[in-house]
């Protein structure tokens, strides 16, 4: 049988579910929070802080979930560190969230691990933001992010979907064509907030 089937995760014990952290916009470091953080997840976020210092922000640390946030200049390095040193090996999803109020579009990678048995329960949320244009020309405006496809191969279709649905172009992606939308789609990227459903 495979090597990762030997032991179940040893993280289970002394975690207390922390109440869901408010505010999707974080600024506070994990250390400043008064609630008691789960130890294993805290360890992951500490390793990231130790390596990158103030280049990464800890978004939340709760049971089985660690959320970090970084700028688009650093996202590639952080992803490389997450793969090589923290042993997360695949991306579960790539989501785009439009924030017209901040004039930014957020791209969220949910990363998991098949090979490291202690990480089987964990999902690491890597968040970064791209500038948003009010009149987007997908692929040719400033809404661009570095592609993580060379780090996590599994983001390939996810990034293609974010590109067509929100207009975030991924620099370095080998195949930036449309995936789900028709080839002749000429409207706004449909998951942006300013694309309204008729009658709503």
């Amino acid at each position: 049988m495979s090597s990762d089937s030997e032991k179940p995760a040893e993280v289970k014990s002394e975690e207390k579910p922390t109440p869901p952290k408010p505010a999707p916009k974080p600024a506070a470091k994990a250390e400043e929070k008064p609630v008691e953080l789960p130890a294993f997840e805290k360890g992951i976020s500490d390793k990231l802080i130790e390596k990158f210092g103030d280049k990464v922000d800890i978004d939340f640390v709760k049971e089985d979930r660690v959320g970090i946030r970084t700028s688009k200049e650093n996202v590639h390095d952080v992803a490389q560190f997450i793969r090589d040193d923290l042993h997360y090996d695949h991306a579960e999803s790539v989501s785009g969230v439009d924030f017209p109020a901040d004039n930014e579009i957020e791209v969220v990678y949910h990363l998991g691990s098949y090979t490291e048995s202690s990480l089987a329960k964990q999902v690491l949320t890597l968040t970064t933001r791209a500038p948003r244009e009010s009149n987007p020309i997908p692929g040719q405006d400033s809404t661009k992010l570095p592609s993580l496809r060379d780090v996590f191969y599994s983001v390939e279709f996810g990034e293609r979907e974010v590109f067509e649905m929100l207009g975030v172009y991924f620099d370095g992606h080998p195949d930036n064509r449309r995936l789900l939308l028709p080839e002749d789609w000429a409207d706004l990227p449909p998951l942006r907030k300013d694309f309204a459903i008729k009658g709503r």
């Binding site: 049988m1 495979s2 990762d4 089937s5 179940p8 995760a9 869901p20 952290k21 408010p22 505010a23 999707p24 939340f60 089985d64 979930r65 959320g67 090996d89 695949h90 991306a91 579960e92 999803s93 989501s95 969230v97 439009d98 969220v108 949910h110 098949y114 090979t115 089987a120 329960k121 999902v123 949320t125 996590f152 191969y153 599994s154 390939e156 279709f157 996810g158 979907e161 064509r177 449309r178 995936l179 789900l180 939308l181 028709p182 080839e183 002749d184 449909p190 998951l191 694309f195 459903i197 709503r200």
Partner: protein
């Protein structure tokens, strides 16, 4: 000429020998998607899957409805597996709305989820049979599936689109005498599906057609991030019901089926083994379930959220790990709902598996990926 053609339609002339073929979207061997393959004689040299023909904008729709009214339409991507598709959304909505779920409801959910896994897998198996020209394997699963559909009809009132899971529990309690009927049907169902081995899984023709075709190695399975039966057929022991249990799965004894071959045969066998395991889980859950009690928390029609939050929940569906990412800004409607669906993740393996295969093996490799086109498109 080729410059103005939309991408994917342009015919690239690489070589006199290479021919580009469009399989789908109306082809019965592709489902609702198009697969552009380039063939050299009988062998596939390049493959470009083109999903999106059944894209319905579920994620956009979810931004306009509140947490309760989202339930009936979010199950639509996979109506055969409607309980499992809703499961992560419901778990996430419960965290955002701050609802506690009664113990009995958790067991009812587990039973419904496992019944739905079998219903989905039987449908998938029926199509797999007809893809390979095995008509008996189309008729038998399609007929035996009715046993469990009847059960779910008793529970929820609908045959396939149950909309049974809601934030806070399940919609209705189990009908009277359900435990006995369920036990009888599930026992008979298990006996029936074990007979499939003789006609299908031990069939030398099936084995010769599917063994060593479309081999996905363990390293590549992890690299492509595939999930569910595809992953377990490649020798990775990963099942969310065991590794990251939700609801009451941690109180049940679950065996994970793993095969090392990674070929189409292993990928078609794992879902069948999972169905037998599902029957075990249902029996355990029926035994451990509290015999009475509430099955849903009190809920207002337009419930209040606990404030801005983000949630990512995942469950093991009939096809693999299904995640739901919900961003809430404190309003009654979710700000963003993203479904991370297993079909979409498994699709990435298809172009890599088909290269070097014979064109005749395409349907068996494609459908063994446990792919459901409507789910991938959402």
């Amino acid at each position: 000429m080729t410059d103005i053609m939309p991408p994917g339609l342009a015919l690239k002339k690489v070589d006199e020998r290479i021919m580009t073929l469009n399989v789908g979207p109306q082809h019965p061997g592709s489902g609702h998607m198009r697969i552009v393959v380039q063939i050299d004689g009988d062998y596939i040299v390049a493959c470009d899957p083109d999903p999106g023909y059944v894209h319905r904008g579920e994620e956009k729709m979810a931004e306009y409805r509140n947490y309760i009214t989202n339930v009936p339409h979010l199950e639509r991507p996979v109506i055969h597996d409607s309980c499992n598709v809703l499961y992560p959304y419901v778990l996430g909505a419960e965290e955002i709305l701050g609802i506690e779920v009664p113990e009995r409801a958790k067991y009812v959910r587990v039973i419904c989820s496992e019944l739905n896994r079998c219903i989905y897998t039987m449908y998938w198996l029926a199509i797999y049979g007809i893809f390979l020209g095995h008509s008996t394997m189309f008729m038998w699963p399609a007929g035996d599936r009715e046993l469990l559909i009847d059960l779910m009809e008793k529970v929820s009132g609908a045959r396939v689109t149950h909309a049974h899971f809601i934030p806070g529990g399940v919609r209705n309690d189990l009908p009277a005498n359900f435990e006995d009927v369920c036990l009888r049907q599930v026992n008979y169902f298990e006996k029936r599906i074990k007979e499939y081995a003789a006609v299908f899984y031990d069939n030398p023709i099936l084995i010769s057609r599917t063994q060593d075709t479309g081999v996905l190695s363990r390293e590549n399975a992890i690299r492509y991030g595939v999930t569910g039966s595809v992953l377990r057929a490649s020798g990775v022991d990963y099942d969310l019901r065991v590794k990251a249990p939700y609801d009451v799965y941690d109180e049940l004894d679950i065996h994970t089926n793993v095969m090392k071959e990674g070929d189409s045969y292993a990928r078609s066998r794992i879902p069948w083994l999972d169905m037998i395991e599902s029957c075990n889980i249902i029996r355990q859950a029926l035994q451990k379930m509290p015999k009475s009690g509430s099955v849903r928390a009190k809920l207002k029609p337009n419930p209040k959220t606990k404030g801005p939050a983000t949630v990512y929940k995942r469950v093991e569906s009939g096809r693999g790990s299904l995640g739901c990412y919900i961003v809430s800004d404190g309003k009654p409607e979710p700000y963003r709902v993203k479904m991370s669906v297993p079909s979409f993740r498994n699709l990435l393996a298809l172009p890599n598996l088909l290269i070097g295969e014979k064109l005749g093996n395409m349907p068996s490799v494609y459908w063994s990926l446990n792919y459901w086109p409507v789910e991938a498109d959402r």
